[in-house]
């Protein structure tokens, strides 16, 4: 099918199989390899991207369903502050989970701000529950997420 969508602000038109995973479109067809594949089954969140502002697992989203949508991957704009917080807390080891963690943290931090909610540890845990890390033990990741949500622009 002819797929039209916006990726990181750029309008694209591609010819793809409708059931091709958004993850494969992004990584293989468009060579944006920041988005990672962990489990390929929706469990780990390594493949998290934003579709129309909502975090989804790109391994579960068929290309047909992003037709006309705005997709943002870790290569897109707007992740700088969250990335800096992750750097400062040393919140990555192997790094496979990191892009997904940053994507989810950004969405969560923006939601806290929008709703005027004080970001808390429990809340951060819930938001990041679908992002698994095999290396760090989560302490540094949760600290980085809280830093990111508490910082005011």
């Amino acid at each position: 099918m002819k797929l039209q969508f916006t990726l990181n602000g750029e309008r694209l038109e591609l010819d793809v199989e409708p059931l091709r995973r958004l993850l494969d479109v992004v990584r293989d067809d468009l060579a944006l390899t920041g988005t990672k594949e962990g489990c390929g089954e929706g469990e780990c969140g390594a493949c998290s991207v934003l579709v129309d502002g909502v975090v989804v697992n790109s391994c579960l989203v068929p290309a047909s369903q992003v037709d006309g949508c705005e997709v943002v991957t870790i290569e897109g704009a707007g992740f700088e502050r969250v990335r800096q917080c992750f750097l400062e807390q040393g919140a990555a080891q192997c790094g496979i989970c990191t892009p997904g963690m940053i994507v989810m943290t950004r969405a969560w931090a923006e939601r806290c701000r929008r709703e005027g909610r004080e970001p808390g540890l429990d809340d951060a845990r819930t938001a990041l529950a679908g992002n698994l890390c095999r290396c760090t033990g989560y302490g540094a990741i949760l600290r980085a997420a809280l830093d990111a949500a508490k910082e005011r622009p």
Binding site: N57, C59, V61, T126
Partner: protein, 290 residues
Amino acid sequence: MTPEVTVARSLDEALAALARDGAAAHVLAGGTDLMVELRTGRTRPERVVDVWKVGELRGVREENEGLRLGALSTCAELLRDSRVASHAPLLVAACREVGAEQIQARATLGGNLGTASPAADLNPALVALGARVRLRSRRGAREVAVDEFLCGYRKTLRERDELIESVLVPTRPAHERQLWRKVGTRRAQSISKLTVAVALAFEGACVSAVRAAAGSVGPRTLRLATLERELVGRPLSPALCRSAAAACARADITPIDDVRSTALYRRHAFARVLATLLAEPDGVPACPPS
């Protein structure tokens, strides 16, 4: 083999694609079940009808008989809807515990019904609420109680040309408590070891009507008939909560050993969880104690 895919833009297009002769088409909604099935090869459909962009299947509407929820309602949408919150807190509590945020953004009500897994979390809530599913095909529409619709292990009464269009949650009685509890290995992103959903209506101190259902403790979402019988017409004393829960755990469920738990644990935990839940004064707890 790559399946032939129809990306439907309207209800008519979707129904036409489902009505075609040849191999039965698989419906694709949020894809959180089907995309995994396709990737692992557990399901190899010849045809797929993607209904994600079918507007007629979206949205929540108030009707005379109750609240109508479009089949494409996602957990995230149901969690945000104030009408669902006041009408069916039980369903909201169940949605909150499906997967994690990324899954909630795509997992739909219709998909939970369509997969008909015994471990599905929304289905016990729908059964306890006495919900009815509306099926539509080119031949017309029909409504079936969710309890009957889920007729076996991953089996439903859906005919091959039918689409799950919506679910009706009937208007609630004046004095009702809705109860929900899921037990899993962790608070989020875990498939249930067991779930219980109960809707209790009261007249004065006495229980006047009950509907109850459970997940992951039998081959399908189970209606808890013994529990319902034990509670009706009586005041909900602590002793009754315990004895009815015990009787229910003996008679209503048929748990097995599997990768997530054992039959022994499930039966034991089920009785305890149910007794505690029934004694809960305010209905749906926001979150299970951790």
